[in-house]
Symmetry: D2
Subunit: 349 residues, 4 copies
């Protein structure tokens, strides 16, 4: 098995998730063996603590060192949103493959620049839409594509959390200079990406964006209707202010022949109707015996197994995984959500 | 107990539901004892069969006879939508109290005329939004009004059925001359009414209306975002084309302190969050011991117990029940849904 | 439609349930039209109040008058358990058809005497196991009998409530002279009857009966393993001390080809597996459109529609309904539960 | 961080689960750093393939080499049941700490010998009851011990799977020489261990064991009633023949003040009643943000974090983890299940 040197920017939540997945990927027969070369972040002490615990060889406070490092073949960007574009572009231009967390950028324009840079550099590029790698979500897509559900007419999705009520105002998620948007970029991008992944390109959006918490400088929530290029219609919603909802990333799609419904909090289950009553299918992946369910962290393992195959030349990131193009097209929808809320009109994409 | 003479137009689905409820109301201590005076419909033979079975004293093919009948104090209009306005107005002008099924009228203008006529006549008037009388829905409203949930920020509701795919084209529900609209009037009015009942007046609507079945002359579905006068935002949806969904009339509302969620298919359950995890409360009404659940037909009994109290001078139809004003205000939203779908803009009410 | 004169003993919980069902049965095309002749109970004032409200022609404090009344063709015994045998036997001997609530008697011996008396008198006899008339339970039986599930190997059922913790000690349910047993007769009989209805005769029982509440003179709960004559095995349980459980009458059965699962609190749903994933089927009966669910009270309407057909000579009470023989065979199992708990052995029936 | 050399017997299902957990433990701050010294199994080629993939330094076909290896401090026995006793005892006598999969042994006598050997050797010993390490199960135990639920009166548990119908007869699970028992040892031990973990010692068992599949030489299922030393009563059941059930390891316990209910297929959820309605609590552990759920494989990581703390001298395996004593006491109950099924009597422990 060939090795692929990895460098990562970001050592907290995403640092943990990616590091654990990289360590596990090898045991699950990854196409390439990831070698954890270096971890970066601004707080030298904290990065060093994370490096030692998570198994990275070196720590640094300068992502430019990582981008310039010949041992590095894959650059993973798990930093704050405002730090997605520059390091990712630099890495691509240095010939590194790049996996960047979502939202890919602070705007569609910025995302397009990233996509172009990666394409021009000829590197493998991926956006971290990990919910595509939930086994039950993948099953949903297979059912759609196998025409078992017929033509899709409706899609409805919502991503609801509640921590926005009680979070400290200084949380970086509420700083537009770092996060860009609020619920739109953090949660909305996931449901937009799932809409595109499962149904297809979105043609128009009619949205209302709202900030409810006094003093908050980013959006708390949005609601939207969407039209797909196929003619299907749907609703999208994201909020950090839905009391009682913890990580409720849920969708349902209805076709001319059948339907599926999913909720991330029960991520091993897919509700499937072939026209009649819904049945609850346990779809837990291929590691354990039936019914021995996988967890949220496992989606990152599937993501890396997929990405490492693409880097090894076995297939491509898209269409099952999300490329920078997917990150860009998602950002187009986010921009349309904001535009529509301003204009009071449906906005075409 | 005083008696109230009742005449009903309509003898099929709604005829069954209302007749059973009227018979049961007496046993549950109704304020007035309903006397089933006459039943009307266009098919003499079928009306007579229904009359004998359902316990009405007389059958007729002319609702004008009912409206002119001195023995009649309450006129119940369960006829097709296109036959809501004229008989209801005539009954009111003849001094009869009126309960008319939903949608109240084919347009907001027509509904306003009905409301005005009933007000001018000084009679008790009610629109048949029976889901207000589901015990769990009433509990939801009590929680909203008792400020246990705080200020409401989000409301989302959908009413999904699937029979629209396989129904015969000749079904009256698809004839605009009889039904007016499709999913909007049939299903959408229920979710619009619940939005108003639970949260308050709707200020604007951004909607997309769709007909998917070739040759169909009414809408199959719509999706909408709404803004309430309170500042809350939400999504509404109705469809007859959601495979696997039978009678999925479901809503969720989130407040600054808590949330509730409801699904008509489990109509004895209310999901309640006081900020933390949802608990499943069985709210089955007051007839049976705890956990001995009520059914859909029982909502009509509650509706009549409430209406008969209002006729007896004990309280008013609104705000717990729906008056003609509620039927009218709901129709305003339906009209805005259609307008917005045409204009591509949010429409103010 | 011919008429059948009905007299009822009992005017509280069961009086309400039966009276409402009798009134509704006519509107649903009952084979015979029930005429509510007389209602009896010990408290003259309370009986008169109930009579007037529930629509009975006369009230009496002496059930012997009812049994001797020529206008009465059907005697309904909804009195306390200790008053099941004597009036029911007297009614049968007087040529009245008899519907007696469960548990049929205080012991299997007493139940057998009742059964024999009814058979000797040649009258129609029924035990009030109303859960047989839940549409979803009937569907479960049809699936069993149609061999869609194959041979049944497992049956597990529990009937859990929680009111036993907080109920006043003077409640008649805790008085062995009136109630006989506690959870066994009240709740256990339902799960035993469903076991027999769905799987077949029980061959042996190994049980532990427990009273937890100090001073209580009847059982609070029992647990049991059972063997069926077919070779299937199962567990049965009943308790009034299961905090959080309101009316949790639930069963599951597994066959060589498939399974079904049911919970009375969601009585319109049947979980069905044809070997693979369970699907949730809404089975709400035949009165309303799909998904418009029925309630607990509606089971009594189905029970009367069935009984009135049997009285009219259209079919028999068993096997779909429960006859006195079923009440007796259920009592045999109850007796075996008590014997086994004493002996520490599996008891054969 | 000090290192602890690990050797493992078994390289298939359990080999995968343990190897992944050992690799992950370090990243989660384990008290000692596990070093994967050697992996053993009978098929040299297959062991070598697993070794390379799972990250072990050496492969061997002789567990005796592992037991004699000075670099090894912890011996993990994930071999077939018949190979639990001898290697585990040898390892303990060689001074190795031992983690042995469940069922600990083929009989209570054998288990007792293992327990005694480990105790005499003074090593840390653990039985692989990984469901104790499900975060929601641990929360259940905390609620029990904090007396929030009051005194427990009822416990009911079942572990249902369905693969027993279609499995090839040659599967080792059906060979008594290798597996010992069937559903009892494989599934029943888990529910017995959870009963002991959550409620306490079992005093008596009344059970029926059944083999339904023709030609099968081990049990397919058992049903049992149990009495605890505390006076609580319960039911236990395990089956490999429950169509539609995949990995349904579920329990409920009811106390004088509250209840909890759990199902392994939704292992991040605990249903909690404080006397009133059940609420669904997401309890996913402490790695990810709320609602980002863990999977079945993660229970092994928690198990190792706990065991490595015990080996490091920080606390003991019991009572949160299962020691060999727990494996032995569980085996006593298994033996009583078999005895009771033979005798037809409740068997005391």
């Amino acid at each position: 098995m060939s090795r692929v040197g990895v460098a990562m920017l970001g050592y907290r939540f995403m640092g943990n998730a990616h590091s654990r997945a990289l360590a596990a990927a090898r045991q699950l027969g990854a196409a390439l063996e990831p070698e954890l070369v270096s971890l970066s972040g601004r707080d030298a002490e904290a990065v060093e603590e994370a490096r030692a615990r998570l198994g990275w060889a070196e720590a640094t406070t300068d992502w430019r060192e990582q981008v310039a490092d010949d041992r590095v073949h894959l650059f993973v960007n798990g930093g704050p949103n405002a730090l997605h574009a520059e390091p990712s572009i630099a890495a691509a231009r240095a010939g590194k493959h790049v996996l960047c967390e979502k939202p890919l950028a602070l705007s569609a324009d910025e995302a397009k620049t990233m996509w172009r840079a990666a394409e021009d550099a000829g590197v493998v590029h991926a956006t971290g839409f990990n919910y595509r790698f939930v086994p039950a979500v993948r099953l949903a897509r297979e059912l759609v594509r196998s025409v078992e559900l017929g033509d899709i007419v409706h899609f409805r999705a919502r991503y609801l959390q509640s921590w926005g009520w009680d979070a400290p105002p200084a949380d970086w998620h509420f700083d537009p200079a770092i996060a860009g948007t609020g619920a739109i970029g953090d949660l909305g991008t996931h449901v937009i990406d799932l809409a595109r992944y499962l149904v297809g390109e979105i043609r128009s959006v009619g949205a209302t964006v709202r900030t409810f918490v006094p003093g908050r400088r980013v959006d708390d929530s949005f609601v939207a209707t969407i039209e797909f290029e196929t003619g299907a219609v749907g609703t999208l919603e994201a909020s950090r202010l839905a009391r009682g909802r913890i990580n409720h990333n849920a969708f349902e799609l209805n076709g001319t022949k059948g339907s599926v419904a999913f909720d991330q909090e029960r991520m091993n289950e897919l509700q499937i109707s072939d026209g009649g009553a819904f049945r609850t299918v346990l779809e837990h992946g291929d590691w354990w015996p039936p019914g021995h369910i996988v967890g949220w962290g496992d989606t990152f393992i599937y993501e890396y197994l997929h990405l490492l195959r693409a880097i090894a030349g076995e297939g491509t990131v898209a269409p099952h995984g999300a490329s920078f193009e997917d990150g860009y097209r998602c950002a187009l929808v986010c921009d349309a959500v904001l535009r529509s809320s301003e204009s009071g009109r449906k906005e075409e994409l």
